[in-house]
C-alpha cells in the first residue's frame, strides 16, 4: 500500500481531487479493516457456538457411560426367596429380592436402626439391584442358601456423588445427600466396595423412572422402526414424484401448483405436520396412536419435499445427451429414464434421501402431537406397538427433575448426534464417490 501524506496545500489554490481522496484514505482503510474484522468475528462466533454446544453436551454427558456399583455381601436366604422350598420358578421370580439387599445393608452398617435412617440407607442401592439378584437366582437356583459378594447398581444420588455432580462441600442443608450417607459412602469406598463400570445397561435397557436404570434401547428401537418405515415410504414416492415432475410432466397449471406446493411444504413448521397427523391419520383413518406406523406416515410427508427437491436436481444434472442417445436407439421414454437416467441420478437421490432421513431422525415436535411422548418401558416389537423415539426420549428425560437424568439426556444426545454425523458423512462420501462432471 502506498499511502502518501497529503501535501500541504499552497495557499490560495483550490484543493485538488487527489488530495481529498488521499485525506480520506486512512479513514476508509480503517473502516475496511473494521469490516473485515467484523466478518471474521461473525464466523468465529458461529463456530464458537458449535464448539460450546458440543463441549457442553460432552462435559454433561460423558460420565453417563460409566455407572457406579456397590459391592455387598448378599446372603441368599431361602426363607426370603423360597419359603416353601418348592423350587417353583414362578415363586423364584416373585420373591422379595430387595429384602436381601436391605438385609445386607443392615449387616454392613449395623449402627443404623432408626426407621428414617434405614430408609436413607436403603437408598444407597438402586431398586434395579433386585432384578440383578433375581436374574442370578433364575440362572442358577443352587445359589440359594449361599453367601456371595455381588456388585450392585448404586442409587442415583450416590452415582451423582461419586461422579462429582453433587458437591460434597456444599452445606448439608442444600445438598441432596446427608452427612450420614456421605459417611457410609466413604466407608464403602475405603473398603474398595465402590467402583465405576462401563454402563452397558444404558444401551440395553428401556426407559425407567429410576435414572440409574434408564436406557435408550426402547427409543433406539422405536427410532429404527419409524425411520425404516419412513425410508420405505418416502424414497419410492419421492423418486417417482421427482421423475414425473422433472421428466414427464407437461408444463401446466397443475404441475405449477404441485411445484409451489412442494416448495411451501418444505418450509411449513413441523408442528403443523403433527396437527395433520393427529387430525387425519389418527382421528380420521384410525391409525393407532403412539406407534412407529403413524410416526412414519407423518415423517414421510415431512421428508418428501426434501427428497423430491434433491432428486430433481440430481435428474437435472444428468446431461440431455444421455436421454437423446437412448431415445435415438428406440427406447421408450420410460425405458430411457429407468435404464439410463435413473442409474446416473441415483447417487444424488440417495444423498438427498440420507439428508432427509437425518432430519427425520432428529425431529421431535410433530411426534409429540401424535402421542409418541408416552412413558414406555418395553422396547416396541413392531410398527404397531406404542413406542417412543430418541429425540422424544431426550425431551422426556430433559423434563425429569432428577439430577441423574441430566447426564443420561446428554449421553442420549451424544448417541443421537453420533448417528446424525454418521449419516451426513455417508451422504458426503456418496457424493464424493459418485459425483461426476459431464
Amino acid at each position: 500500500m502506498n499511502r502518501r501524506q497529503p501535501p500541504a496545500s499552497t495557499a490560495g489554490q483550490p484543493p485538488r481531487t487527489i488530495d481529498r481522496i488521499n485525506a480520506g484514505l486512512a479513514r476508509r482503510y480503517a473502516r475496511e479493516r473494521r469490516f473485515r474484522r467484523l466478518g471474521r468475528l461473525a464466523v468465529f462466533t458461529g463456530i464458537g457456538f458449535v464448539s460450546i454446544l458440543f463441549i457442553d453436551i460432552f462435559l454433561k454427558g460423558h460420565t453417563a457411560f460409566r455407572q457406579t456399583v456397590i459391592r455387598l455381601d448378599i446372603a441368599y436366604d431361602p426363607a426370603v426367596i423360597d419359603p416353601a422350598g418348592s423350587g417353583d420358578p414362578a415363586q423364584l421370580l416373585r420373591a422379595d429380592y430387595f429384602g436381601l439387599v436391605k438385609q445386607a445393608l443392615r449387616e454392613r452398617f449395623p449402627e443404623a436402626t432408626d426407621r428414617r435412617v434405614l430408609r436413607e440407607l436403603y437408598r444407597l442401592v438402586s431398586q434395579g439391584a433386585a432384578l440383578t439378584l433375581r436374574d442370578q437366582v433364575a440362572r442358577d437356583p443352587a445359589i440359594i442358601g449361599t453367601r456371595q459378594s455381588v456388585w450392585l447398581l448404586a442409587g442415583d444420588d450416590i452415582d451423582m456423588l461419586i461422579k462429582g455432580h453433587i458437591d460434597r462441600f456444599t452445606p448439608a442443608s442444600s445438598r441432596r445427600v446427608s452427612d450420614r450417607t456421605l459417611a457410609w459412602v466413604d466407608s464403602l469406598a475405603a473398603a474398595g466396595s465402590i467402583d465405576r463400570r462401563f454402563n452397558l445397561n444404558f444401551f440395553l435397557a428401556g426407559d425407567s423412572r429410576q435414572p440409574e436404570m434408564a436406557g435408550i434401547a426402547g427409543a433406539l428401537k422405536g427410532s429404527f422402526y419409524t425411520l425404516a418405515l419412513t425410508l420405505l415410504l418416502s424414497f419410492p414416492i419421492g423418486v417417482g414424484a421427482a421423475l414425473y415432475l422433472e421428466e414427464f410432466a407437461p408444463r401446466n397449471r397443475w404441475t405449477d401448483l404441485i411445484e409451489v406446493n412442494i416448495n411451501n411444504l418444505a418450509a411449513v413448521p413441523s408442528i403443523i405436520f403433527g396437527l395433520l397427523g393427529l387430525a387425519v391419520f389418527i382421528n380420521f383413518f384410525g391409525v393407532p396412536r403412539s406407534t412407529p406406523l403413524v410416526g412414519a406416515l407423518v415423517l414421510t410427508l415431512m421428508t418428501l419435499p426434501t427428497i423430491i427437491i434433491a432428486s430433481r436436481s440430481a435428474l437435472r444434472s444428468v446431461p440431455p445427451s444421455i436421454r437423446d442417445g437412448a431415445l435415438g436407439v428406440g427406447a421408450s421414454p420410460l425405458q430411457t429414464q429407468l435404464h439410463h437416467v435413473l442409474p446416473l441420478a441415483l447417487p444424488g437421490m440417495l444423498t438427498g434421501t440420507i439428508i432427509g432421513m437425518a432430519q427425520a431422525l432428529g425431529e421431535t415436535a410433530p411426534l409429540l402431537m401424535i402421542g409418541m411422548i408416552a412413558f414406555i418401558a418395553d422396547p416396541p416389537s413392531g410398527i404397531t406397538d406404542p413406542a417412543t423415539v430418541l429425540p422424544v426420549q431426550i425431551y422426556l428425560w430433559a423434563d425429569s427433575p432428577e439430577r441423574a437424568f441430566v447426564e443420561r439426556t446428554s449421553a442420549a444426545i451424544m448417541v443421537l448426534l453420533g448417528f446424525l454425523v454418521a449419516m451426513n458423512l455417508l451422504a458426503v462420501m456418496l457424493r464424493r464417490k459418485f459425483e461426476r462432471r459431464w
Binding site: E32, A42, G240, L304, G362, I373
Partner: protein, 463 residues
C-alpha cells in the same frame, strides 16, 4: 386368523406367479404367430401386464377393507347388542363400542366386564375373524381372476409396454400429487377443527383478547369464560422470541456470509462453511436442552450479578439459542445470493476506486438485497414455527410483557401443551390448539410465499 402382512405376502406371491405366467404365455403366442419378432412388446412387459392385473384390483379391495373395517364391524355388532344398549344416545354408544373393541383386542376396559359386553366382544372377534377369512378368499379370487383375464388378453397385437408404462405414469402422477394432498389435508383438518373452535369462542375474542388461560374453560359451570382464550399474549411472546432470535442470527449470519464469500481464502471457506452448516443439522431438541439447562441458568446468574431479576424460563434464553439455530439459514441463503451477484458489478466498483467493504456495502449488498430479504423472511418463518426450543426453554405462563427477561409463552408451546395431555378431543381446549395451528400455518405460509417469490424473481433477474 390371517393378518394383513400375511395376506399381502400371498398377494405378492400371486403377482410374481402372474408375471411368469404372462411372460410364458406371450412366448407361446409368439411362437404360434411366427417367432418373437411378432410380439409388440418384450416378453417381460407381458409379464408385468399380467402381474399388474393380478395385484392391482386385489390391492384396491384390501385398501378399501382396511379403511372401512372398523365402521362395518361396529355396525354389525351394534345390530346384535341387547335392545336397551342399542337405544343409547350416540356418545354413550360410542363409549360402549370402545369398550367392546378394547375387550376384543385384549386391552384394558374402562368399566366392569358384563356378560353383555363380553358377548358383544365375542361377536366383534368372531366377525373380525370371519371377515378376514372372507377377505383372504376374495383377494385370492380377485387376483386369480385378474391373472386369467390378463392371460386371455395376451396376443401379439397387445401393446403391453404402452399399458404398463401408462400404469407406471399414473402411479408417478399419484406420487407427485401427494404434495397437494398433504396441503389439502393440512388445510382441511386445521380449518375444520378451528371452525368448531370458533363456534364456541368468537374469533374477535381469540384474536384480540389479552388473557390466555385455557384451563378455566374446562370447568363445566364456566362456559368458555370471557377472555380466557385471548391469544394476544401468545402472539407477542412469539414475536419477542423471534425478534431476539433474528437480532442474533441476521447480523452474525449475514456478516459470516459476506466474510466467507468475499474475503475468506478457499481453504478457510472449505473448513468454516461446513462447520457453520453443522448448526443447521443439530436437532432442535438438543438446542432446547442447551437453552434450558445451560443458557437459562447462565443468564440467571449473570442477571443476578448485575442486580436484575431474570425469570428461570426467560424469553432471552430461548431467543438467543434460537438465533444460533437460525444462523446457518441466514448465512447459507445470503451466501447463495451474494455469489449470484455478477463479478462485473464488483469489478466496476473496484475500478472506481472503492475498497472491498465499500463494494460490499454499496454494490453487492444492494444488488443482493431482495434475495437477502427473502432469506431473512424464511428465517422469520422458521423462528415463528420453531417448537422444541421454546417448549423446553420458554415458559407456559402467558404474560403480556415487553421485558425479554420475563417468561413468555408462544403459539407453538401452547399447541404442544394443549395437545399432549389426555383430554377429550372436542373440548374447546384441544380445539384451541388447532385454531392456533391455523394462525401459525396462515402466517408462515404468507411469509414463505413472499420469500419464495422475492428469491425467485431475483434469481431470474441475473440468470
Amino acid at each position: 386368523m390371517f393378518s394383513f402382512p400375511q395376506i399381502a405376502l400371498v398377494l405378492l406371491a400371486l403377482s410374481v406367479a402372474g408375471y411368469y405366467a404372462g411372460q410364458r404365455r406371450s412366448l407361446r403366442v409368439a411362437s404360434q404367430a411366427g417367432g418373437l419378432q411378432s410380439l409388440h412388446s418384450l416378453p417381460g412387459y407381458y409379464g408385468c401386464y399380467a402381474a399388474l392385473w393380478t395385484a392391482v384390483p386385489a390391492l384396491l379391495l384390501l385398501l378399501a377393507w382396511l379403511l372401512c373395517r372398523d365402521t362395518l364391524l361396529t355396525r354389525a355388532v351394534i345390530l346384535l347388542l341387547p335392545p336397551e344398549a342399542r337405544g343409547l344416545p350416540a356418545p354413550q354408544l360410542n363409549l360402549l363400542m370402545n369398550d367392546v373393541r378394547n375387550l376384543a383386542q385384549g386391552n384394558m376396559v374402562s368399566g366392569a366386564v358384563t356378560p353383555a359386553l363380553q358377548a358383544a366382544a365375542d361377536h366383534y372377534q368372531r366377525f373380525g375373524r370371519l371377515a378376514q377369512q372372507v377377505l383372504l378368499l376374495a383377494v385370492v379370487a380377485l387376483a386369480l381372476g385378474g391373472a386369467v383375464l390378463a392371460r386371455s388378453r395376451i396376443s401379439p397385437a397387445l401393446r403391453a409396454r404402452n399399458r404398463v408404462e401408462a400404469a407406471a405414469r399414473t402411479v408417478m402422477i399419484g406420487f407427485a400429487s401427494i404434495a397437494i394432498l398433504t396441503t389439502v389435508g393440512i388445510v382441511l383438518s386445521v380449518v375444520y377443527e378451528s371452525w368448531l373452535f370458533f363456534r364456541q369462542v368468537p374469533a374477535g375474542e381469540f384474536f384480540l383478547g389479552t388473557v390466555w388461560s385455557p384451563q378455566t374453560a374446562l370447568r363445566a359451570d364456566q362456559v368458555a369464560a370471557a377472555g380466557s382464550f385471548g391469544a394476544i399474549p401468545l402472539f407477542t411472546g412469539t414475536l419477542m422470541v423471534s425478534a431476539i432470535a433474528l437480532l442474533v442470527a441476521v447480523p452474525i449470519g449475514l456478516m459470516s456470509a459476506i466474510y466467507l464469500s468475499e474475503y475468506a481464502s478457499r481453504r478457510t471457506r472449505a473448513v468454516a462453511k461446513p462447520l457453520l452448516e453443522m448448526l443447521a443439522g443439530i436437532p432442535t431438541v438438543v438446542y432446547g436442552f442447551f437453552a434450558a439447562l445451560t443458557m437459562a441458568p447462565l443468564l440467571r446468574s449473570l442477571g443476578e450479578s448485575m442486580g436484575l431479576t431474570v425469570a428461570s424460563e426467560s424469553a432471552l434464553a430461548a431467543g438467543l439459542v434460537m438465533g444460533v439455530m437460525i444462523i446457518p439459514f441466514v448465512s447459507s441463503l445470503s451466501d447463495d445470493v451474494i455469489n449470484a451477484v455478477p463479478q462485473d458489478l464488483r469489478n466496476g466498483s473496484y475500478a472506481l476506486g472503492a475498497t472491498r467493504s465499500e463494494t460490499v456495502t454499496r454494490v453487492v449488498l444492494r444488488a443482493a438485497l431482495p434475495g437477502i430479504v427473502g432469506g431473512v423472511l424464511l428465517a422469520v418463518s422458521r423462528a415463528i414455527g420453531e417448537t422444541m426450543i421454546v417448549v423446553m426453554a420458554a415458559g407456559l405462563s402467558a404474560n403480556l410483557t415487553a421485558n425479554p427477561l420475563d417468561s413468555v409463552t408462544t403459539v407453538t408451546v401452547q399447541i404442544v401443551t394443549l395437545l399432549t395431555g389426555d383430554q377429550e378431543f372436542d373440548s374447546a381446549k384441544t380445539l384451541a390448539a388447532f385454531a392456533l395451528g391455523l394462525t401459525l400455518f396462515v402466517f408462515t405460509l404468507g411469509l414463505n410465499l413472499i420469500a419464495l417469490h422475492t428469491v425467485r424473481k431475483y434469481r431470474e433477474h441475473y440468470e
